[in-house]
């Protein structure tokens, strides 16, 4: 009984991580993929906590949830502006 709760937490995080990764790679909507990747970074931070690595959780929280999310969303907004396709070689 004493071990079941951490085990449940670990397996829940692992399953959710794999599911989010699969959805990120298989969805057709670009914005949805980016948003799922932000949530993926958030859950990675929660996984580092369980591996006795609070320093990694801190780095992942600052970078994965904050910086990468803003960068990717900015790129998606840039791609929404339509441009005339040029000739391809």
């Amino acid at each position: 009984m004493n071990d079941i709760l951490p085990w449940l937490y670990d397996s829940l995080i692992a399953l959710t991580l794999l599911w989010i990764a699969w959805q990120t790679l298989s969805t057709r909507d670009l914005f949805k993929a980016v948003l799922l990747f932000i949530v993926f970074g958030l859950l990675m931070a929660l996984a580092w906590v369980r591996l006795q690595a609070p320093d990694l959780a801190l780095a992942e929280a600052a970078i994965g949830a904050g910086l990468t999310g803003a960068l990717l969303l900015d790129a998606v907004g840039h791609l929404r502006v339509p441009r005339r396709p040029g000739p391809r070689k």
Partner: protein, 101 residues
Amino acid sequence: MTGGLFYAITGVLLFCLGLYGFIQHAHLLRRILAFNIMGSGCFLVLVGLAQRGGQVDPVPHALVLTGIVVAVSATAFALILMRQLYVESGHCTLPGEDEES
């Protein structure tokens, strides 16, 4: 099964998923996402295997901390390259690959 080994196996599966996405998609932003997922899988394997024997090995932790920072800078650089390609050519894929998928 110890928790570290469990997370290492999750990391291997994540790496395989990311590799599949990297091969399958032609869109460059999706490739960047798949690349990041591959990197996260690698980090999980490293830190998960550093836990064996009840003693935490600090060297993989330092490596992964550096790896996270390098991954975000590489992502930023790749995004800039992709945006420049989009401005120049209007496409988000490399030449020679089909547009949609």
